[in-house]
């Protein structure tokens, strides 16, 4: 059960919050021509809702496919987290 979710085309991102974690569950396929138009605002909004102590968990187990353009906003999110000291785990 997610607290919030975002849908664009065949991609859905569920967001679940608890005291220690923000879990971003990816479902479906990320196959848009410019996936960053959808993904970057979702990640930015989610990150602005979390404190520095929060751990982000990117759960890709239900993601069937992503194109290479999807990698860029993800890598940029990871880089931001690294720079500000946020903790990130990924599950594939």
């Amino acid at each position: 059960m997610s607290d919030n979710y975002y849908v664009q085309g065949k991609l859905r991102i569920n967001i679940c919050y608890n005291d220690k974690n923000i879990i971003l569950e990816w479902l479906g396929k990320s196959i848009d021509r410019n996936p960053e138009d959808f993904i970057t605002p979702v990640l930015t909004t989610t990150k602005s809702a979390g404190s520095i102590e929060i751990r982000y968990i990117l759960d890709f187990r239900k993601l069937q496919f992503m194109n290479s353009s999807t990698v860029a906003p993800l890598v940029q999110f990871l880089e931001e987290c690294k720079n500000d000291g946020s903790s990130v785990d990924t599950t594939v």
Partner: protein, 159 residues
């Protein structure tokens, strides 16, 4: 040798359908899951590039995708129209392939590209990761040539 040819118009939404058709074809030919998924991804990336960078007109408005399976390799070939207007794209394609070949292995190229991507200074929709991903995740060797105003780009996956 077993072959399949799929012809599609340059419509973004048809890329994923084609990727799935290719995976189904590979499964029908008893290609294992890991290889089929890898080659499906390779097909997807090549078709995305064809739609993005091809030179289409009313009379030349299609992309051919050919999959050939033999005893020791699978070849994905994508053919799309080009023109003088898109010559710069071919130069960039050649440079990218040469850049990948300059690394000892595809993983190094992939990591290097991720570092560039993480710097966040890219043009929209141009991560430049597609060909590197084909080489690393897709375990495939990419090459291309042009003939009769068409680009023929192929990726060879060794079984």
């Amino acid at each position: 040798l077993n072959q399949k040819k799929i012809t599609i118009p340059p419509v973004w939404d048809l890329i994923d359908t084609t990727r799935e058709s290719v995976i189904t074809f590979l499964h029908e030919n008893r290609i294992d899951d890991d290889s089929s998924i890898a080659i499906g991804m390779v097909t997807n990336e090549l078709l995305e590039n064809a739609v993005k960078y091809g030179s289409f007109s009313n009379s030349r408005n299609s992309i051919d995708c050919k999959i050939s399976i033999d005893s020791d390799s699978i070849v994905v070939e994508v053919i799309n129209p080009t023109s003088n207007d898109t010559e710069q794209n071919l130069v960039k394609l050649d440079e990218t392939i040469q850049w990948i070949r300059g690394f000892q292995n595809p993983f190094e190229a992939y990591v290097n590209r991720l570092v560039i991507v993480s710097s966040n200074n890219l043009h929209k929709g141009e991560s430049g990761l597609g060909l590197v991903r084909i080489a690393y995740e897709g375990h495939s060797i990419v090459d291309f040539y042009t003939s009769d105003d068409n680009l023929y780009i192929s990726a060879v996956y060794n079984l």
